[in-house]
Every structure is written in C-alpha cells, then in structure tokens.
C-alpha cells in the first residue's frame, strides 16, 4: 500500500518537473519595442527568472507600429496613441494595453542657452519657437514621421501653438503655425536614440534637444556631454508617453498578464525608475530626486488621425533644410488709413517682427530665413522693399518702410494685386523654391487702375506656378469684402476679416496658411 503511494508520489513529482520545464520552453514572447526602450534589457533576465517568461525583443518599432500580422505577440512602444487611432479608424479590434512607465516630452537646453532665453518666467514652447525663429536656439528633435517621441513632441508644440486649451482639431492645423519653430531645427534622427547619438558626436550642431525627459536625464547621467543639459518642462504643457505593453496575440494572454504584473510590482517599478529614468506608474514608488519635479500639465492628444497626419505633412522631412517662406504684403496707404488704422498696421508689423509677447505672436512671428516683401500702394505702387530675415537689422528696415511711408490719394486694389502676381511670376521664372503667398490689406474700395475683371483675366494667363500663389485678403473698414472674397477663392487663399479683431490678430491667423 505504502509502496504504491510512494511510487505515485514519485510519478507526480516527475511529471510536475517535466511539465514545468516544458511549459517554460514555450513561454517566449516576441516583442516589438521602441528603440529607446533598449534600456530595459538588464531587467529581462530577472523577469525570466521570476516569471519563467522570456521576452524576445526587437527594438525596431516605429511610430506607426506597423506590425505584420502574427509576427509579434506583444508591442511595447513609447506611446500607442497613433496605433490605436489607426485601429479605430480601420474598425479593428483594440488590443489589451497596460501603461508601464511615464515620461513627458520636454526640452533640454545647454546651460548657456537656458540662461540666455530665460526671462524669469517659466519657459514655454512659445519661447522656444520664438528663439528658434530669431535664430538664437538651434534644436534637435526626432523625425515625427518615424519616431513616436518626435511625434509626441510635434503634437505638443502644435497644441501649444494653437493655444485653445483643448485638443487639436482639424481647423487648428489647416495652417502651419510651426514654420518659425521649424526654422530652428538643425538635428534629427529616425529615433530619439539616433538623435541623441548624433548629438553626442556633434554637440556644436544644436543647443537644445527635444525628447523624453528620461532620455535627457540618461544622457546627462552618462557624462558624455561637455556640460549636462538643463531640463525644462515647458509651462504651456507637454505630451506624456506611458510606454504601454500591448497584447497583440490574445492567445498569449496568460504570460502577458504575468509580465505586466511583474513590471508593475513596486520593487520592479522602483528599479525601472532608477535604470531608465522613467517615472513609475504605480503610486508612492520611491524614485530618484530628478524624477520628483512636477511635470506641469499634460496636453490633450487629438482624437483624429487626420489631424496628426496633417501636422506631419506640414512639418515635412526635418532632415531637409526647408526653403523659408516668401510673403508679399500689399499694404493700402491711401488717406483713409490715417490715424488709428495706420497705428494698428504699424503695431501689427512690429508684433510680427518679434515684439508680440503673446504665445500666438511668438509662434507667428517672422523667422530667420523667411523673405518678406512690403509693397505700399495707393492709386499706384508707392514703394517696395524686400528683406531676407537674418537678424534684427533687416526687420528694422522693413518696419521703417511701414512706419515712415506717407499716404497718397486713390486706391488701386487690383493693380496692386496684379503687381504682387508679377513678383510671383518672376520668382517662379527664377526657379525660387520658396513657398510664396500674398497678403492684401486694404480699407477702401477700388477706385482707380484695373478692375477686378481685368485682374482676373491677367491672372488666368499667368504660368501655373504663379497661379498657385494664394492671396489672403484682409479687408479693413469700408473695403469691398465681396470682390476680395472672389480673389481669395480664385487663388486658393481665404479672407481674414480684421473688422472684428485687430489687424495684428488677422495677420497672425493667416501665417502659415497655404
């Protein structure tokens, strides 16, 4: 009897052992992870020891998380927002997802740059954009099309630029408000890892980096920089990444759950914080002092993929230096502009030249590399001046034209616009790559020179490149809105009414519109 029991026990024991080791052999999960998560590698052995689950990780995920079906069991990106938006758009099943760590997208500045642009008030993305437009900050940011860090950064900056206090909507991205900001970008990379590696090799190429707080802290701790970067959490908000672990293959639910439970254990969360500089998701987990600073306010993320796509299209390839815009301002200098209207116009120009302290003003200002033509007109063209923005000097000359120019009788709106298009045709003929647009500001009715019909006929005969130049009329006072609207519609621009707000506001609204 007893012997039989013993034998049974031995059998039980043997099969248990066999079952254990056999089970473990199959418990390998294939994971597609973001390149920046390579810093979790040292923990994987302990994960395996504690749970018996092996993670076979490819650190090659891109922002779109294009996963060939069946190729991975889990995904571990910095953020799954783009991915989930796409799944929802395609009406596909949304996988189980668990946040593992958090890190905000922030900016690291060289100490000298930080000192130079800090004014005593907390720094904002608007300040960074302002300094970039002015040429005093050159920054590196990963490519938003490929890196989820870069994408989060772009959404954050654009949300701050829209300044609505809510998530970005389609209409907020119909104009590209980041052209000034972008003019300061000198470094990029397919991933934030690549960007940071490049920066370490070429520290003179940028004086600011936009990336996750965790990566900047790790960079500082690595002592590979001449001086550690000053990390700033912009006061107008940031996008927070939560490094979610996603279960792509529902059949692997059990090991997935074990891995997630392990990663969310308090002691593991503490180790993750120390090893990766990301913030724990669990409450009350001890963390290094660098991770105790408040991060400010998280920005809302748009709920439509089209908004994010539009943003990326507007931003283009950050690795290619983009030709600055060329804006032709056709400004009505007839006597009706005298007084408050002229004062408003001059203030608007000063604002665009960098004097506007509002967030919208800092994003919309003239930027380094942009070309501005000012044409003063009344019954005829009075004066024309073109400036390529390099520094304060050029902008001053431009403001002198606006501030010092005298008024003259009559208003030849359509002759002036025709003049604008001839400038456009010249630029196209000369092979100028700059995106050109025309801003037509008038406060009166056309009473001399060409009629609208004549302008329209001449416009129709222009080469295609010149016809593509949009006109943004800004009617002011008694201007004839109807004909101006026809001009806007014909050229692909739109009318911005300065009657309801200031001219300054109207100019800001059409900056970056194409």
């Amino acid at each position: 009897m007893r012997r039989r029991a013993l034998a049974a026990c031995l059998v039980v024991l043997a099969t248990t052992l066999a079952a254990c080791s056999e089970g473990k052999e199959q418990r390998t999960l294939r994971v597609l992870a973001s390149p920046e998560l390579a810093d979790i590698k040292p923990l994987l052995r302990d994960l395996e020891e504690d749970t018996g689950v092996t993670l076979d990780v490819d650190f090659t995920a891109t922002a779109d998380l294009d996963v060939p079906p069946g190729s991975y069991d889990l995904a571990w990106p910095a953020s799954d927002r783009s991915y989930l938006l796409r799944l929802r758009e395609e009406r596909r099943r949304v996988p189980e997802s668990t946040a593992i760590m958090r890190s905000p997208v922030v900016v690291g500045l060289t100490p000298a740059t930080a000192r130079r642009i800090t004014t005593g008030k907390p720094l904002t993305w608007a300040d960074i954009a302002d300094a970039a437009a002015e040429g005093t900050v050159r920054f590196g940011m990963p490519d938003p099309r490929r890196s989820d860090t870069g994408r989060a950064a772009l959404v954050g900056v654009a949300t701050a630029a829209a300044g609505t206090g809510g998530a970005l909507r389609r209409k907020d991205v119909s104009c590209d408000r980041l052209r000034g900001f972008r003019s300061g970008q000198t470094l990029t990379g397919a991933s934030s890892r690549e960007l940071i590696d490049t920066y370490v090799r070429r520290q003179g190429a940028a004086d600011a980096l936009i990336a996750h707080e965790a990566e900047l802290l790790a960079l500082n701790a690595g002592r590979k920089l001449k001086e550690p970067l000053t990390i700033v959490h912009p006061a107008d908000g940031m996008v927070l990444s939560d490094f979610p672990l996603l279960l792509l293959d529902p059949a692997r639910h059990e090991p997935y759950r074990e891995v997630v439970d392990w990663l969310r254990r308090d002691d593991v969360q503490e180790r993750l914080a120390r090893a990766t500089w990301r913030r724990p998701v669990g409450a009350d987990v001890p963390r290094p002092p660098e991770l105790r600073a408040p991060i400010g306010n998280a920005l809302s993320y748009p709920d439509q993929l089209a908004v994010v796509r539009r943003l990326m299209d507007n931003y283009g390839d950050p690795g290619r230096r983009r030709a600055g815009d060329h804006v032709v301002f056709l400004l009505d200098f007839s006597p009706s502009m005298r007084g408050a209207r002229m004062a408003d116009l001059r203030a608007a120009f000063r604002g665009l030249s960098g004097a506007d302290p509002s967030a919208a003003g800092k994003f919309a200002r003239f930027y380094r590399g942009e070309r501005i033509t000012v044409v003063r007109f009344a019954g005829r063209v009075l004066e024309q001046r073109t400036v390529s923005v390099r520094g304060a000097g050029g902008l001053r000359r431009l403001n002198d034209v606006v501030a010092g120019g005298g008024l003259a009788p009559d208003t030849a709106v359509w002759s002036a616009l025709d003049h604008g298009y001839r400038l456009g045709a010249d630029a196209v003929r000369d092979g100028d790559q700059r995106p050109l647009s025309i801003v037509l500001m008038t406060d009166g009715e056309n009473n001399t020179g060409m009629s609208y019909g004549e302008f329209a006929r001449r416009y129709a005969r222009l080469p295609a490149g010149a016809r593509a130049v949009p006109t943004f009329p800004v009617p002011f006072g008694e201007a004839d809105g109807r004909e101006l609207r026809r001009a806007a519609d014909a050229t692909g621009g739109r009318v911005v009414d300065a009657g309801s707000s200031s001219l300054s506001q109207a100019f800001k609204e059409i900056r970056g519109c194409r």
Binding site: K24, T54, G165, G166, D284, L299, S300
Partner: protein
Amino acid sequence: MPEHARPPSVEEPRLATRRPAAPRRRRLPRHVLAALPLALAGLLALLVSGNALRPFERITTIDGKMASKSDFFKDPQVRRLLLKHGIRVEIHRLGSRGIATQSLAGMDVAFPSGQPAARLIMQRQQRTVKSARPFVTPLVLGTFREYAQTLAAAGVARPQQVTGGEDTLYYDLDMRKFLRLIEERKTWNGIGYEKRSERSNSGRVLVRTSSVCESNAAGTYLSILAFVKNGNQPPGSEPRPKGDAAGSGDPVLDVAAEVKPLINLQGMAADEQADSYFSDEGESIAPVSLIYEHQFLAHQVAHRERHQRQDTRRVLLYPSPQALTEPQLISLGADGDRLTDLMETDEELRQRAIELGFRVRFSGENGTSEQLNAYLRDHHVQVPVPNPDQTKADAPDLDALERIINHVGSCPPAGKGGVS
C-alpha cells in the same frame, strides 16, 4: 546606472531563447536527490493530515473579461478567498462596452461595470444565464483640492460638511453649472485656479474620460450629460417640452449632438482613468478624471493604512444629478455559474467588497450604505454623502443610449460579436 552607455546594436536585443532541454538525458541533480526523502516525507505528512494536496488539487481557472471591476478580482484577499473554493480568475481587461461588443469565445464570465453593457451581453446569450449583481457604486469625478476649491469659488461645487475641522474630501457638483463652464470655453486659470494654487493651468475646464465606445463610465457620464441637456429628463422618453424647430427631428440625436462637444473636447480618450488619477503624476495628467466611487474609497483606506492619514490632495466631486452604476457578473457556462453563485452567497467575499469601497446589496434591500459607512468610520476615512439632494439622472433606454454613444464616439457597430 542607466544603460545608455552601451553601444546600440541590432543583434544584441534578441535574447537567447531557452535551449530545449533534452528529455532523455534529464537527470535529477545530486542535491535534489538528497532532498527527495525529505520532500516525500512532507508530502506524506500532508496526505496523512488530511490537508490534501491543495496545490495539486483541481483548481479551476475562470477566464473573465472585465473592466474596472477587475479591481475586485485583482485584490489579493479576494484571490485567496476564491482559491479556498478552488477558483482562480484570469482577468482579460477591456472596457465594459468593449466586452459587450467583442467576442466572448473562450470566456467563462463577463463582468461589465454597468447595466447598459450587461444588458447588451444578456441579449446576445442564446439561453438564460446565471448572473449576480453584488454591489453598486456611483459614478464620480476625481480631482485635486485646488481645482475643487476653484470650482467651489465659481459657485459650481459645494464642499460637504465634515465634523472635526478637517478639510473635506467630498464636494457636490452642480452639473448644469459645470457644463456651462465647459460650453463657455473657460480655462482653469480663467476661473481663478492660478490664484488658488502654486500651479498654473491654461487648459480648458474639461473632464477626462475613457472612450465612450468602450467604457461603461464614459457611457454613463454621457447619460448624465444627456439628462441635464434634455431638461432633466432622459432623452427619447417623451417629446421635448420646448418646440425646438431647429433640430434633426430626432430628439435623441439632437441631444447627442449637444453633448458631443462636451466630451470630444478632451481629444483622444485614455483608458484606465483611475490608474492615472491615483498615480503620482495624476494632477499633471488630468485635473478632473471620470472614475467610480469605490476606486476613491479603496484608495483612501489604503492610503490611511500606508501613511496613517487620508490623502487630502485628492478629493471627489459628486455630480448632481447622480448616476449609480451596477456591475453584473454574467456566467457563460458551468464554471462561471460557480463564481456567480459564490458572489451571491459567500459572506466573506461580500464583506471584502465593502472593504474595497463598494456599496453591497444585502438581501436585495436598499441598506447598501450602512456597512460601508461603518467600515470607513472604523478606518478613519471621512464618510461621503453621495447624493444629498436625491437627484438621479435616469438613463435613457438602451437603444437611445446606444445611439447617443455611437453618435458621440463614431463607434464601430455594437452587438455584432467578433469585431476583430
């Protein structure tokens, strides 16, 4: 030390998979052999003591799709109690409405957090199924002290009275006035937050919710919004009182259109609202999050145990009108039946539910709150008055609610089963 110092490489990340052990040659190591008699002795002792071979005994794993109520089955004490009955619950986590709209193949139970999703699931079952509704919990808004004070100063929230001079943890929120703040595009700084706090927030006043397409909380919040916007009656219940000529002619869709911007303002919804609200970064992530009362109370009890004081940074806003949610554990087979039976009958499980902040039903009667209040008092956590003026947002009927949800969230069609 962080590991960034390593040279990046593509090959390295591939961890070696475990080499397959050669079963023929497996031999027990010497120290295992040495310990074997001891192990066997222990085994025998267990057998003789009648304590049976618990670990080897049949443990039934019950697979369940559940949302926020997985908190209950994640609780270590609940797991221990269930193990006594030979049950282990494997949690598949997703939103309640997600549970109702996706396939339940391979599941033993479903545990949606509220009645709308529960009814969708029940409708889809071919046969009568067992189910249990062990507890209720009101839908609440979790916020932080200065935000609540800002709302109180704006005349939108009112602190509940506490005895003993402590700061209150609970505020009543006038939803009608609160929605007006949202509609008027007010920012937090715009209503005086900056003056009351060391922090600043130029973001708009809004509530962060989980996805309306997937979660019960967001769907229930929608029904509060719809009720308020419809003149304090559930949309679709009767023709609208005022002869609004302007709408689409469909009163339900008209209300849905009014409610949509109040929700969509937040941009992309994020799941696990409670998770982020209670994290150390909670205040940065969202000033106001849509959660359930039980999550807040469980947090306060745990905080008291851990720090010997209440968490006075985090406070609750009780919306008025109120919406009570009623989770339902639905069995999908014989194993599931065992669990629903236990939930209905097991006193220890019910007691534990109270300790986790739920308002537990006893013999179907209303007295759901006394035990909870007593437990909170015993643990020195302030006792809330969830619905002082007894206003209740009646939910629209299932069909109307579904239409509102679909309109607001542009959701994939529900009730079709395996949307994959």
